[in-house]
């Protein structure tokens, strides 16, 4: 009998397992809304084809004495109608199951994935290919009379040559595709002699700060509220024209992401009766490391930055908040600081002192680290940016949505075509923060479409 390939799980992904619980499932969802009702038979065909090309997604998660590991499986994914709340748990102890699911309802295709397997960028590669494949099958007529240039692009896609360059995931064997992104980067960089990463140092030697040097640590405001009865998340989805919000951000001389974070901070201040005039709010913002270190790995490869704003020091308006947040982000994304963080992460991967610690104990330690980190965060956001696809494909997509399980109020933003979607998720029933956020946008003339899920027995009975 041929034994299955397996790869030890990296530390960067281990934290998701340790921090995972029935409320914060560490699952995130990518959604494409199409023109017509989804055809499950074609979707299954598209999934079979895409799945065959991405070996990483064949993984199941297993537990060892000291580590978790990803093991190649023979399982075949099946598309299913949407019957569970968004981002329902995917990984269960002792259950050999794939770490993603593809579900559909009406005109929407959802791809849900356990964060241990890949990060947003990595997952988007699979999702884009799945949607492209589905659209090829669902609307073959569109590709008959498409322009020569686009047809060539499509041929390249199907012949698997173009994407080989950008997505070597497909060409690799299981072990290579499941290998930690951090470790793959270091092995390629070492060969190229590009990065002088100090691997010899112990993790404890690294002392650096996220904050501007003058900043002092303050107690950070935490949103409180009544949680949902069955641990599902409250989802509030807002769709808006990208141009409108871009114009508003330009008025503030900042990026859309920073502008929306500023609105989020303001919404919390307005929605929370116990918020003090001198309160501090902070946000965690993941940054894709692939823009700093070239990597084709779909595994987790990002660093987290933390931005904060303390009220009551000067004029508390959106302009000022935007300016402060931009300064902090720029500071944290200086190449030397990113290198420093990368070094810390790598040292952690290579020289982790707790190798001999029994896995459940390691999980417990990481759980405490995570709880401690959570104390310093009010909200989190995730920005997938703009997803561009050729007209023949993109024209069939009404909008994309990104959402993630959340232990605190959070939003994820993604845009495609003319539309941007900001999707809020929260463990709390209350939607006052989301209401304040929406009203700030509509007050400035933004055309907003809002949808929300039902989370309480009363809402479900209506």
């Amino acid at each position: 009998m041929e034994r299955k390939g397996w790869v030890r799980l990296d530390h960067a992904s281990n934290i998701f397992l340790a921090a995972r619980n029935s409320r914060d499932t560490k699952v995130f969802r990518l959604t494409a809304e199409l023109e017509d009702e989804v055809d499950p038979v074609l979707l299954q065909r598209a999934l079979d084809k895409t799945y065959a090309q991405y070996l990483l997604y064949h993984s199941v998660l297993r537990r060892g004495f000291f580590w978790y590991y990803l093991e190649m499986s023979d399982l075949k994914p099946q598309v299913a109608p949407e019957l569970l709340p968004p981002c329902a748990p995917i990984y269960h102890f002792d259950h050999k199951e794939l770490l993603f699911r593809v579900i559909y309802r009406a005109d929407r295709i959802h791809f849900e994935i356990f964060h241990v397997l890949a990060d947003g960028t990595g997952a988007l590669w699979f999702f884009e290919d799945l949607i492209k494949e589905y659209i090829f099958l669902r609307y073959p007529e569109s590709f008959c009379d498409m322009k020569k240039q686009e047809r060539e692009w499509k041929d390249q896609q199907t012949a698997d040559s173009f994407s080989h360059y950008f997505r070597p995931q497909r060409a690799q064997n299981f072990t290579e595709s499941a290998y930690s992104a951090f470790r793959s980067v270091i092995s390629t960089s070492k060969k190229a002699g590009k990065l002088a990463l100090r691997l010899g140092k112990k993790t404890s030697n690294y002392v650096f700060t996220d904050h501007l040097p003058t900043e002092k640590k303050r107690k950070v405001y935490q949103v409180k509220g009544k949680k949902t009865p069955d641990n599902r998340m409250r989802v509030v989805e807002m769709s808006l024209p990208t141009k409108q919000v871009l114009a508003l951000a330009r008025e503030q001389k900042t990026s859309v992401m920073i502008y929306l974070i500023a609105l989020f901070f303001e919404s919390i201040r307005k929605a929370s009766p116990d918020f003090q005039e001198t309160g501090t709010v902070s946000v965690s913002v993941p940054v894709n490391l692939r823009q700093f270190y070239p990597s084709n790995s779909a595994r987790n490869f990002f660093l987290t930055t933390r931005l904060e704003y303390t009220y009551g020091k000067e004029m508390d308006n959106v302009t000022n908040i935007c300016q402060k947040l931009s300064e902090q982000l720029q500071y944290q994304l200086r190449p030397e600081l990113v290198d420093e963080k990368m070094n810390k992460q790598l040292a952690f991967e290579y020289n982790f002192p707790g190798r001999l610690i029994f896995r459940p104990l390691k999980d417990m330690i990481l759980k405490f680290v995570n709880l401690w980190n959570n104390q310093n965060l009010t909200i989190a956001i995730s920005n997938m940016g703009r997803v561009d696809m050729p007209e023949a494909i993109g024209g069939r997509i009404q909008q994309l949505v990104l959402l993630t399980s959340a232990v605190r109020p959070q939003f994820c933003m993604i845009s495609s075509g003319e539309k941007m979607t900001i999707c809020f998720t929260s463990p709390f029933i209350d939607t006052t923060i989301q209401k304040e956020f929406a009203r700030q946008l509509t007050k400035q003339g933004v055309v907003l479409e809002v949808a929300a899920n039902q989370v309480t027995a009363a809402e479900l009975e209506e």
Partner: protein, 223 residues
């Protein structure tokens, strides 16, 4: 789709009020054609508050039942000691069965250990006559190993998924040898059968699945 005149937003809903501010839609705003709510109504899987309340009631009910049995049947009252012990055992077994339900071999191993500990404790609180070591544990050991072997064959569990647990159970089954060494038991017959059976199983597994064990060992014990 409806319009919320308070939030100035288009709301994708069939409900009568805005999900953001809770204000009811006016006649003009209601039932306009357009996109429907993309989030389906999915029934609650459970209600944490209700589950907690029911479990508490069940616990109190079972405690009462234990006390009643002690008085009516055993004609003695150990107070809450046995009731607490019974409840702890009950919830431990329920927890093991539920949390390990996806791997029969693991579930049997855990139950084997917990039942052995339960019998030792019961033996201890009822006068320490040694029946747990003489009879209970050897019997539990033999039948756990047998049950595990039959169960994994019936459900066609993959070798890699159960082989380590079969080995662990066989090794645990050898533990009663210590009872003999320390002369804790008077009648060694059952213990000898249990040790013989565990040893046999250990050798059989090692002989047929030695390679699998090594592979699993490397995978699971990697530092």
């Amino acid at each position: 789709m409806s319009d919320c005149s308070y939030c100035k937003s288009k709301i994708l809903t069939d409900e009568a009020s805005c999900p953001l501010c809770g204000q009811p839609f006016t006649e003009q705003d209601l039932m306009r054609e357009g996109r429907k709510n993309p989030y389906p109504k999915i029934s609650l899987r459970y209600d944490r508050q209700k589950v907690f309340k029911n479990l508490m009631l069940l616990t109190i009910g079972i405690s009462g039942l234990f006390l009643l049995i002690e008085v009516l049947w055993l004609h003695q009252l150990h107070g809450l000691q046995l009731a607490t012990f019974g409840l702890l055992s009950l919830w431990t077994v329920v927890y093991i069965i539920i949390s390990k339900r996806r791997n029969i071999a693991k579930s049997v191993t855990y139950l084997f250990v917990i039942f052995s500990l339960i019998t030792i404790y019961l033996d201890y609180v009822t006068g320490w006559e040694g029946w747990s070591m003489t009879y209970a544990i050897p019997i539990i050991s033999i039948f756990s190993i047998l049950a595990m072997y039959l169960a994994v064959k019936i459900v066609h569990l993959e070798v890699g998924d159960y082989v380590m647990y079969l080995i662990i159970s066989s090794i645990l089954g050898l533990m009663p040898a210590l009872f003999l060494v320390f002369k804790w038991v008077k009648d060694p017959a059952l213990i000898l059968i249990s040790i013989g059976f565990s040893l046999l199983m250990f050798l059989v597994v090692l002989f047929f699945h030695g390679g699998d064990i090594l592979h699993e060992w490397k995978k699971r014990m990697q530092i």
